[in-house]
Symmetry: C2
């Protein structure tokens, strides 16, 4: 299955607890879309978040975030990993 | 030590072999700067690369990429990880 990185903006000042809650909302939905949200990171100063995901398609991965209420701004398919 | 994500653009069509070579150039330098480049990913279609790094400071992490000949476009300090 392809690996993806998505990038979100607009999370300035979000707390670790709220970020964890947002991530758990993804985890609760991901099985229905066949996706797996592996890790997520937040820079609260710039409000930028990154999620590393595997999933069957771009659409499935994006749908998880949309359904959880925090659509991604950008999504990249990571064909190469080192 | 803080964790960072850097984002590079301009790697359109770069091969897995060339990306690996660029990453190895970082690995060869990182000890001198006290940094550790953990993982790196590339989307060759958009030319976007991401590196996950731990290091003593933004400056040290950026210096590794500069010395290796591929300075980062953006660097984020990831205060929160889930």
């Amino acid at each position: 299955m392809p690996t993806y990185m998505d990038v979100h903006s607009g999370f300035v000042g979000v707390s670790a607890e709220d970020f964890q809650a947002a991530h758990e909302a993804d985890l609760a939905i991901q099985d229905e879309e066949g996706a797996r949200y592996e890790r997520a990171w937040l820079d609260p100063e710039t409000g930028t978040a990154f999620c590393l995901i595997t999933g069957p398609s771009r659409e499935a991965v994006l749908r998880v975030h949309e359904r959880a209420g925090h659509p991604a701004d950008e999504l990249y398919e990571l064909a190469v990993e080192v």
